[in-house]
């Protein structure tokens, strides 16, 4: 049996060490990970993948830990991937999300892994997807992917999830800040955490207003149907229900893929308040995706995105390494010296690779 095949067998048998090693190989972009993932692929596609993002200090890790506890109460196994930034100056990373998740450490139904964002552009979302898939194949019913919502890379990552939670907290400054990053559009569930603090209602209301404006604009533009929401049952029939503390949301069953309005929920994650409602919302969204058929479209978009990214990475590697690194360096030198333009260098690299393939074939 090959190393990869042995690892596949061990992951399938529920060996935590094998799963941990597989994720290490994924992070290292080790060819053994590619082989193992190919073996595990047929076993994936079962888990509900939940992305969690928000500004630093909003309480992402604490919320994820609380959500994991609630998921466990509902009899589900949980995988958690927490991503923290790699320092661009030293290449090192301090991964501290575990501090808030140690309550689950003795529970074999929870597997948590810290990942550093490392350097490679586009590489992070690929390795995150692979790590999620490893947890999925391992048998996790729910996989949380937690990351700071600070830039395009993070948004790309959470976009690979089925359901996305965007966390806000009161008192972090101008609410408009949050919407500049474009994370409003990716949320399926909004959480205003630290809701016992002053300003929580204001933050929730600001989200609601922005959401209403966004929806109107989307409808006018005729953008992607999956995100255009009709008024929810809560709004139609239970107006004002959201104004109180931690009210119950109403999720009307729907077969219309267009009909999901992201609820705005308040939590105090550190005290486990409002957490049941967030898991209810996740369950409702997951049900909505499957019953409306939106899951098929989302899954296809996700797969296409991944194939495209992998294609880019793989071709880049083959073209750069295939012609020899000296040749690559010489072309970069030529561009620097203005003897060649960047696109000319790319054409030369691709041309050399194609010629090499023809010779070999």
């Amino acid at each position: 049996m090959t190393v990869a095949a042995e690892l596949v067998a061990r992951v399938e048998a529920g060996d935590r060490r094998a799963l941990a090693r597989l994720i290490t190989w994924i992070e290292d972009d080790d060819p053994r990970a590619h082989a193992a993932l190919a073996g595990l692929y047929p076993r994936t596609g079962r888990a509900h993948i939940v992305g969690v993002t928000g500004a630093p200090g909003t309480g992402k890790s604490t919320l994820v830990s609380a959500l994991a506890a609630e998921e466990r109460k509902r009899g589900r196994t949980v995988g958690i991937i927490s991503i923290d930034p790699t320092s661009p100056f030293t290449g090192g990373a301090l991964l501290g999300d575990r501090i808030r998740m140690m309550e689950h450490i003795a529970d074999r139904g929870v597997f948590m892994r810290s990942m550093a964002s490392r350097g490679s552009v586009g590489g992070l979302s690929v390795s995150t997807s692979d790590a999620v898939r490893a947890l999925d194949a391992f048998g996790c019913d729910v996989v949380f992917v937690e990351t700071v919502g600070a830039g395009q890379a993070e948004i790309d990552i959470v976009r690979t999830a089925h359901s996305v939670i965007v966390i806000e907290a009161p008192g972090l400054g101008d609410e408009i800040q949050a919407f500049k990053a474009g994370i409003l559009e990716i949320a399926d569930v909004f959480v205003v955490n630290k809701a016992d603090r002053e300003g929580a209602d204001k933050t929730a209301n600001a989200l609601k207003v922005m959401l209403d404006v966004g929806n109107t604009m989307k409808q006018r533009r005729g953008d992607g149907p999956a995100r255009v929401a009709a008024p929810s049952a809560a709004e139609a029939g239970h107006h004002g229900a959201r104004e109180g503390n931690f009210p119950a949301e109403v999720y009307a069953p729907t077969t219309d893929a267009t009909e999901w309005r992201p609820p705005i929920l308040k939590t105090v994650a550190a005290e486990r308040r409002g957490v049941i409602e967030v898991v209810d919302a996740l369950d409702a969204h997951w049900r909505h995706l499957r019953e409306s058929g939106a899951i098929t479209q989302r899954e296809r978009e996700r797969v296409e995105d991944e194939v495209r990214q992998l294609l880019g990475r793989t071709l880049t590697r083959r073209c750069v390494e295939g012609g020899g690194l000296e040749r690559y360096a010489a072309l970069v030198d030529a561009v620097t010296a203005r003897a060649l333009d960047p696109r000319g260098a790319v054409e030369a690299l691709i041309g050399a690779w194609v010629a090499q393939r023809k010779e070999a074939g």
């Binding site: 060490r17 190989w25 090192g92 991964l95 501290g96 501090i99 810290s114």
Partner: protein, 139 residues
């Protein structure tokens, strides 16, 4: 292309110590030395530390103790790691240890013991040297 294989280190505080300044300084220094450092926080049991090391698949564990409980906690951690088949993980200790205990700590398998006044650069260099001596990592 940049080097992708990173040294992953778990910094943990077993036992009931109430402060972790030293552990945080070391964690920060190792990050600045280009390593990926997972910090668990205070008051961890040996079981918690070993499980975290397992899930994070670390190359190295640094344990910080100030309370003189190493005599009970270190052997337990080594025993649990051995039970999980992970006694390949590099171990080092930091904190306050009586001189006469250091040989016993080393005998347990701790390759480095760093007391007060240690230079964090020495700790980083120690980890690099030890990991390099172990040959290709993550086989």
């Amino acid at each position: 292309m940049t080097e992708t294989k990173k040294i992953r280190v778990l910094i943990a505080k077993p036992g009931l110590d109430g402060h972790d300044r030293g552990a945080k300084v070391v964690a920060r220094a190792l990050r600045d030395a280009g390593m990926e450092v997972i910090y668990t926080g205070l008051r961890q049991t040996p079981e918690m530390i070993v499980e975290a090391a397992l899930q994070e698949d670390v190359d190295c564990i640094g344990l910080s103790i100030l309370s003189n409980a190493h005599g009970a906690l270190f052997p337990r951690i080594v025993e649990l790691l051995t039970g999980e088949g992970r006694n390949d993980i590099l171990l080092f200790a930091g904190g306050i240890f009586p001189d006469e205990d250091v040989p016993e700590i080393k005998r347990l398998g701790f390759r480095g013991v760093f007391g007060p006044g240690s230079d964090t650069r020495d700790i980083a260099a120690f980890i690099r040297t030890e990991i390099a001596a172990r040959g290709p990592v993550r086989g």
